[in-house]
Amino acid sequence: MIHTTVGNLGHFFVILSFVTALVATVGYFLSALGKPASVQAKAVEEPQLAYAGESISNEASFGGKTAKRKAKSTVQVTEPPARDDWKKLARWAFYVHGAAVVGVAACLFYIIFNHYFEYHYAWSHSSRALPVKYMIACFWESQEGSFLLWLFWNAVLGAILIRTAGSKWEAPMMTIFALVQAFLASMILGVVFGDSFKIGSSPFLLLRDAIPDAPIFATDPNFIPKDGNGLNPLLQNYWMVIHPPTLFLGFALTLVPFAFCVAGLWRNQPSEWIRPALPWTLFGAMILGVGIMMGGYWAYETLNFGGYWNWDPVENAVYVPWLVMVASIHGMLIAKRSSTGLKTAIILAISTFLLVLYATFLTRSGILGNASVHSFTDLGLSGQLLIYLLVFVAVSVVLAASKWKFIPSDEKEASIYTKEFWLFIGATVLCLAAFQVIATTSIPVYTKILESFGKITNLALPADQIAHYNKFQVWFFVAICLLTGVGQYMWWRKIEAKKWDALITPGIITLLISAGLIAFGSMKNPVYMALLVASVFALVTNGSILIGVIRGNYRFSGGAIAHIGMALMLLGILYSAGFSKVISLNTTGLLISKQDEFTKNDNKENKENTLLWLNQPERMGPYQLTYRGQRIEARDVPGYLSRKDVMVIEGDFHGIAQRDIEQNGKVYYKKGDTLALYPENTYYEVEYREPGGKVFSLYPRAQVNERMGLLASPDIRHKVDRDMYTYVSSVPDPNAENKWEKTETYSVAIKDTFFLNDYVAILDDVVRTNEVDGIEVGPEDAAVRARVRVLDKNGEHILSPAFVIKNRMVAHPAEISDELGVRIQLNEIDPRTGKFTFAVNRTQRDYIVMKAVEKPLINILWIGTLVVVLGLSISTVRRYREFQKSR
């Protein structure tokens, strides 16, 4: 049966959220316009203005064309009107909107939770095997769900701001909020006009409506798939449960300073918006930064590109707004007290939000196409996204331009002995860093624009993106580090009377520490040295400021702490990336080929992957590595099971135990029991033996899904001073059946030597036995076991195939050695010649190709991140208290 009710309810909530957002926009807009009207009742023209605003309100809420008209009402208002019905209406509309958004999410979750695969969303992103904890991650695997998440956070923030921002800000600010919500809600509206004109993509589409061409629906319109496609295994990770909500909260928070700024311009209070907006900007920078780093940590743990940052366009698209947001904090700090830098602060607050919209457009319109690994696929929303972006660009540019002359600016020449100067330079460098990244990331956009003018260009992103971005970003951050030190000394008035003496001591300390580190770490690269010196300088200067500030009032310590965190992050990046060491160098010394191309660059080529045969130890760097076999994870058994101990039921996530499942002395399942597994993951146990004799195992995994190849994820051993990062880069296809080659037979006498799959084998002995697996040897029966010794370079293997006569029937169970890739049977015993005949089959031996990298001091990066979070949080609290006091 198709459950249409919940889908219809969900769709109703979507429409309701869209309509209420529109109502709230109009209501707040009129309320914001209406205020001058009610106060200035005596003035003759003003009621007309209100009337004019009302009549065009419908367009205005979409187009923002009225910005200029609003500009005329340059009357300063302080008193709110006694009654403001529009505002009341708008406020309730916004609350209903928020409730509707929650309703949409609840309906969608209900569909996923109950496995209603008649819905396209549940079918494409979930499955019966999906654990409940990851169901929430289904929301952000596709575009609709992530728009929903964004809507949700905006609604939450809007509701908080209605209560806390103060009545004078509410109407103009919430106009912007509600307008944004209307645009976002339109993305999931899923309303089709005519045949092809579609607004939004609904998450409540039935499968038969989503893919009406599928042949099954012609025969059975009520067909419901038994199971869904499942969630991308890479997203089945706890970081993927918390990273997107954090990031989208960060996105939503960029709207707050933007809305305050627009409201300030609109109300002709171009500097008053800074005080309420500052704590939100700090909080936003903190959340967005955490979101970005969570994404980096997820990539580090789950993807196998070997790091936390890859300069992927999608990463860049959030990094750029974050940089500008941090720059806008610095701009706002300058502008808070004086009019210097006010224009900078306004431009940066607006740019932050517009860059978030641009990032959304980049990642969701499909424009990145080839260029990015993890952008969303195009849902046909690119036009809508472009309108969304352009409307806000137009609104803010027109508004800012029309109010430009009202923004006070300081005509006094900037002096390098003021803190404003250094904050301004810091913000400038941050913006330049952002500009460099966005200029390159937008290459696919330039191509598209040129194409629309009929010019075909073959421009592509730089071939070595990492080198391209790093060569600039390193130097920008060297400058930023130096500026934080100088800026903090200026800020706390350590440099007085135009004397730089105060910086001499930290400068000397920096040089001493850096010289020590350079010598100790035998650092040779001058770029690394520069970054090291700059980071240490930032640590020393901010550290000494911090000590001074904490003695006074710890609440003021946010800035120094955040800067220290940033310097730590840079040091962590410097060491973990600059000094990461590949352990799995192919040191076998085997000459692969005598061709020139192999020999000439033998050392330069990327010989960084090594082959490990099953159970054959290899020496790598200081470690001895052994591949111990394939493992599988059961849902309620700790640790990993050998893949052979369970037989996975095809098309299900259950398996049957082939032997007693015992872990740490506790028996979890008996042989023949059914147990729940994570069958898509195969883990490859790699045993590390340290020089000291300590042994630990890492379990890099490969994920198998019937419709995809393999996706490899690393396993990481975290130590205090370094991470051991290991992943498999190639494995034999785990789904392929073991193919045994043609049987070869050998007839040998005892003590004879023969060749077994390229190994030397010796038949040592054949002895009587009473125990043969799977065969009961009774008193009337006879059983013997051969002892075949196989020599390989690491020692000996014993194979002991048996020969059984039971009830006058002959049985010769096969003995299999995975290490040797050999199956051997004792087929005949000839008492006359004393020869034993073995049937031997060979197969591909199990192996992995793996890469192991050591990443030193990476923990400093994570610690630095936490320190930045701490610093920004302290500042947020401080600035929020300041704002509360000022009210």
Binding site: I211, G306, A414, A439, I466, G578, F598, L611
Partner: protein, 146 residues
């Protein structure tokens, strides 16, 4: 000259430098024939070539070689570019796991003698999550670097 002017000039200079370097580092989509010509002219800049794998009448990929037992870091295949030129490509890293499923391959690298030495492979495979859609995966032969 006022300080603000000096700063303005410096900022503009850096911005111009950024743009120039973006233009200089930007790679191009091209064909093997042009890549060969570039290599002959001594231009070792890395370029993008889009192509399809060489297949026989049964749709089996031909001229592909990866044997980890001999060298896990040597993968060789033949790519047919949009001008139908077939070219041997060498990738000094393990074979990407979903390589056989790919419908389109983008190789990034440069011609070296008789073969195209590829540093990075972008694969477009049929998406397992979205029907009739291709998705991109990226594979890189990499040395550790900052």
């Amino acid at each position: 000259m006022k300080i603000s002017h000096i700063i303005g000039i410096i900022v503009i200079a850096i911005a111009i430098g950024v743009i120039a370097s973006t233009a200089g580092d930007a790679s191009v989509y091209t064909t093997f024939t042009k890549a060969e010509k570039m290599a002959q002219d001594g231009d070792d800049k890395m370029i993008h070539v889009v192509g399809k794998l060489k297949k026989d009448a049964h749709g089996q990929i031909v001229d592909m070689f990866y044997n980890p037992a001999i060298d896990p870091n040597h993968f060789e295949f033949t790519l047919v570019d949009n001008d139908q030129r077939a070219q041997k490509v060498i990738f000094n890293s393990p074979k990407p796991q979903d390589f056989d499923r790919s419908e389109q391959v983008v190789v990034i690298g440069a011609m070296q003698g008789d073969h195209f030495q590829c540093k990075k492979i972008l694969l477009k495979c049929p998406s397992k999550y979205q029907n009739n859609k291709l998705e991109t995966t990226e594979h890189e032969a990499k040395t550790a670097q900052l």
